[in-house]
């Protein structure tokens, strides 16, 4: 009994000390909603030095949290447990969040740096006049591969993934829309298809891909490709850029049948308690300097023209990352499918996953 009491006291003392230490360490930033800014972003999607620079410039303490899918992000914001001030959803999710009244309209007078953004990325169908959202990054979905390991396949067509030489070599990303979308694209259908027959056909086609599939994973694919442990992967353009930066052997292709063009935009969710701070952050990220540094670090394509001037010429003219406007026309933006069809896509994706044995 005595030792039990001693142990309890020891734990309490240690906890108290740790609390005290944590408190003194974070005292510089100040407490409470007023002087903190909670940012909710994708993993590996910002240059951490920029956060420090922003803290230094404004005196606002930044709390940074990450998510790994649009849906998980929205669920958390809906539940409202944490006062997120900034989130970075993709276009179809912005549409959905708008419908659910989860976003706060932006005050453009507080965002003078908006002038740096390419008009091509403004006033898009998912958010007229950019009432709620400001472009952060954009990109495509395609295939990253190691040319020395795939023979003469060049992945100008999705069909190349079905090549028998790739048995157990293809890695897919763990996302229903990306994978089912690829199935639809490979048949020449729209990746926003709401036609049950087309979806069935696409799933059946995907099931024939099963023998070639090695694994369906997320960000873990990056180190595998870099270390030449994986040969071919379906992935986003920026993730591919990351891999290619580390391993120069790799190449990236967006098949000609069409693929996904996506935009991630910054928004201020309803949970925000520091709306001024959130505007200050968006404006900070829109500056040419921050935009360029961030794009250099993250590897995705920036919509910030002023930032592109500061960046490496070789990168911003590379059509694999910055496809021309004609190329962009073959690409499709995800639309919000509505709950029924989102459910359907996921059911079919599950069916496809179950076929991989």
């Amino acid at each position: 009994m005595k030792s039990l009491i001693q142990a309890t006291i020891a734990i309490l003392v240690v906890s108290a000390l740790l609390f005290y230490a944590a408190d003194t360490l974070s005292a510089g930033g100040g407490k409470g909603g007023k002087n903190t800014l909670t940012i909710f972003n994708w993993g590996e999607y910002i240059d951490p030095d920029l956060l420090k620079a922003f803290e230094k410039e404004t005196g606002i303490h930044v709390i940074y949290e990450t998510f790994d899918s649009n849906e998980a992000m929205m669920t958390k914001i809906q539940q409202g447990g944490t006062a997120y001030d900034i989130a970075v959803p993709s276009e179809y999710m912005i549409e959905k969040m708008k419908e659910e009244n989860l976003l706060i309209p932006l005050d453009k007078t507080k965002l003078p740096n908006l002038k740096n953004i390419d008009p091509y990325f403004l006033d898009l169908p998912f958010d007229d006049n950019n009432h709620y959202s400001i472009p952060y990054f954009w990109g495509t979905v395609g295939i990253v591969y190691n040319p020395s390991l795939v023979g003469d396949l060049d992945f100008t067509s999705w069909e190349d993934l079905w090549d028998p030489s790739l048995k157990r070599k293809v890695f897919l990303v763990d996302g229903a829309r990306e994978v089912i979308g690829m199935g639809l694209n490979s048949l020449g259908y729209s990746l926003n298809s709401l036609d049950d027959n087309e979806l069935r056909e696409a799933t059946n086609k995907l099931i024939t891909l099963a023998p070639n599939v090695k694994a369906i994973i997320g960000d873990e694919i990056t180190p595998l490709m870099i270390n030449n442990e994986a040969t071919v992967a379906l992935t986003w353009s920026g993730q591919a850029a990351d891999m290619m930066f580390e391993n120069e052997e790799l190449d990236f292709a967006v098949p000609e049948e069409g693929s996904n063009l996506w935009f991630d935009n910054m928004v201020i969710p309803k949970t925000s308690k520091n709306i001024d701070g959130a505007h200050a952050f968006i404006n900070f990220m829109l500056s040419a300097d921050a935009g360029a540094r961030n794009a250099d670090y993250v590897g995705y394509s920036t919509p910030n023209i002023a930032a592109m001037d500061l960046m490496d010429e070789e990168v911003v003219t590379d059509e694999r990352y910055y496809p021309s406007e004609e190329q962009r026309d073959t690409l499709e933006v995800y639309k919000n499918l509505g709950p029924d069809y989102l459910g359907k896509y996921n059911e079919l994706f599950l069916e496809f996953k179950m076929s991989i044995r």
Binding site: S69, A72, E220, N346, M354
Partner: protein, 269 residues
Amino acid sequence: MQTKTSKSALFPYVLWIAFFVIAPIALVVYYSLLDLHGNFTLDNYKAFFSSVYLKMTLSSFWYAFLITFFTLLISYPTAYFLTKTKHKQLWLLLIIIPSWINLLLKTYAFIGIFGLYGPINAFIEVFGFDPKQMLFTDISFVFVSVYIFIPFMILPIFNSLDRLNPTLIYAARDLGASAFTTFRRVVLPLTMDGVKSGIQVVFIPALSLFMITRLIAGNRVITLGTAIEQQFLVTQNWGMGSTIAVFLILFMVIIMLITGQKDKGGRVR
């Protein structure tokens, strides 16, 4: 007087159980009866009996069985020899310590260990074999899961072996039983309770493993746990997610009944 105080002392526990056990289960059952638009329906249950979900349930059970089987196979002898060692508490502690490390960290470590350029392949190459990609196979999945569950299996078995009165073994040997017969007729039956609770603490979590299924098995293995996570976080179909959860709870109850300690009847005769 005494009964009164003991009854009022029960109050916090009753409250606890009502709020944190009964209410959540009731909510899960309630949500399982809703479709995407919030209407009452039994469609989720119908959907569960479609081929995709039945196949998934079967494969969950199969992998949970494999994991439990191998864990038991390794743990029983380990626990047995542990009780024979000199510093058994120290050895036990050494086996338990890894279970204090976060499960995800251990899983990530295995990504490196199993990798094409990891230590295992380096070892294989020394003997002149070609390196193999060991990640994303059934074997690696079962291996990592077994590794993670071993301490949980050893502990109850060790305890029941440790409590075993050694004079019973001497008596059996004295009466002419061979070492094997002693083990089969005396040691094993008397430690069965430890084995059963070991099976419980391994089999049930193994049914709902997730993350490992993605990180180590690359989604080649899909358990009920993965499906629930997907339904809640991605599809946002809380109804279907809850339905799978209802079945998972049912399966767990059944397993508890099968492996539960039967105090009544039996044995005494």
